[in-house]
Amino acid sequence: QMNFTGDQVLRILAKNEKQLSLLRDLESQKPQKVDFWRGPARPSLPVDMRVPFSELPSVKAYLKSHGLAYSVMIKDIQVLLDEERNAMAKSRR
């Protein structure tokens, strides 16, 4: 199983269409490194994206440099995945 230790899901609230466009640019620059869980749609909707641990500094710097406010929705994906796997194993038993 692929390991997602340290990967985070960031929630971004874009203020306007220009900021959404900056987020779309991020996807086109790094289609395999940024995984949109909720894509950039409209300013009233949040954008959620999974960022691998190795890409976190550069992605966070990109967001900061463009004035894009974000919060950490999931701090460490692997923690949730481990919980999920344990729950499945327990249920099976």
């Binding site: 199983q1 692929m2 997602f4 899901v9 929630r11 996807e27 289609p31 395999q32 995984d35 949109f36 869980w37 909720r38 894509g39 950039p40 749609a41 409209r42 909707l45 949040p46 959620d48 999974r50 929705m73 999931i74 994906i77 949730l80 995945l81 919980e83 999920e84 729950a87 499945m88 249920s91």
Partner: protein
């Protein structure tokens, strides 16, 4: 040990083998109402299965429900299983459901993307696409919700095979999509098609590929509103609703646009729980509440479909 659906936990997630085994047992235990239909093979040669709920009669009008076209959206498969069980349990007790099933058939495809789903259990829990590959192209998989004919290749789909929204080389190039198209077209009498996704709590109708309102916009708006109200009554979970392109985003080559343009007026897409804490990793403890509320929304759409023949 004899296997049965009684020992199956509806409040936990399951592998593809476990779900397929459950489907076999489920169809065997409720053979008066349920049958298993094989509609095709996936890219990796897995069976594509559909459950048919029918009280008899040839070529009745029908309702289609699919879950799990995006393999990482595990809550949708789990909801499909629970709802299937609900249908057999409620038939005979729920007069609305009884009316529906006495006149129409219900088809549920629980694992719409079996290859992708198996992959989420073995290699990559966050895999979204199917597993098809093309010679000379490194990236694997097509987004099956961008591979339908209507609006294929338009806004909100991607021609880059490495993108999560890769549309594929041609409309219906993917066997998982072609199987559904072949089945529904061959049947010829579907009146509702509901495609279930997660997560962001929405009920939507066509179009996704265009901002243009569909001719039945007003009716679909009211029906989506009624479905969302019914859903809210169960656990107080709020959904938003509207057309896909105005509520969520532009998306081309999607299931429900194809359904609508193929003459299936009641075409809806759901985005189940949650709004932003777990995303695709919704804890199993939320399976049953999610399924319970989703069922009431589906029942609302199915009842409307029954009462408004066209």
């Amino acid at each position: 040990l004899e296997r049965s659906t009684n020992s199956f936990s509806y409040s936990s997630y399951h592998t593809l083998d476990e779900i397929y085994s459950w489907i076999d047992n489920f169809a065997a235990e409720h053979s008066n109402l349920v049958s298993k239909i094989h509609i095709g093979k996936t890219f990796e040669n897995r069976s594509i299965l559909v459950l048919k709920f029918s009280t008899g009669g040839p070529n009745r009008t029908a309702i289609w429900i699919d879950t799990g076209i995006h393999s990482r959206e595990w809550i949708t498969h789990a909801t499909g299983i629970w709802i299937s069980q609900k249908i057999v349990n409620a038939y005979g007790k729920d007069h609305v459901l009884k009316k529906i099933l006495n006149a129409m058939d219900i088809f549920i495809e629980i694992v719409t993307n079996p290859d992708g789903f198996a992959f989420t259990h073995t290699m990559n829990r966050l895999w979204r696409k199917n597993k098809s590959s093309q010679p000379g192209i490194v990236c694997i998989g097509v987004d099956l919700n961008r591979n339908w004919k209507t609006g294929f290749g338009g806004n909100g789909s991607n021609k880059n095979p490495c993108s999560e929204t890769y549309r594929g080389p041609a409309p219906e190039s993917e066997p998982e999509v072609a199987a559904i198209v072949g089945f529904i077209t061959g049947h010829g009498n579907f009146k509702a098609m509901i495609s279930i996704h997660s997560y962001s709590q929405m009920v939507m109708y066509p179009y996704g590929h265009s901002l243009e309102p569909v001719p039945n916009h007003k009716e679909l708006f009211k029906l989506a509103e009624a479905a969302v109200k019914a859903l809210y009554k169960v656990h107080g979970i709020q959904y938003i609703f509207g057309s896909i392109s105005t509520t969520l985003y532009s998306a081309s080559g999607i299931t429900v646009d194809w359904a609508y343009d193929s003459g299936i007026k009641y075409a809806f897409s759901f985005e189940l729980r949650d709004t932003g804490k777990y995303g695709f990793l919704l804890p199993a403890s939320q399976i049953v509440p999610t399924a319970e509320e989703t069922w009431m929304a589906l029942r609302t759409i199915m009842r409307h479909t029954l009462n408004h023949p066209y």
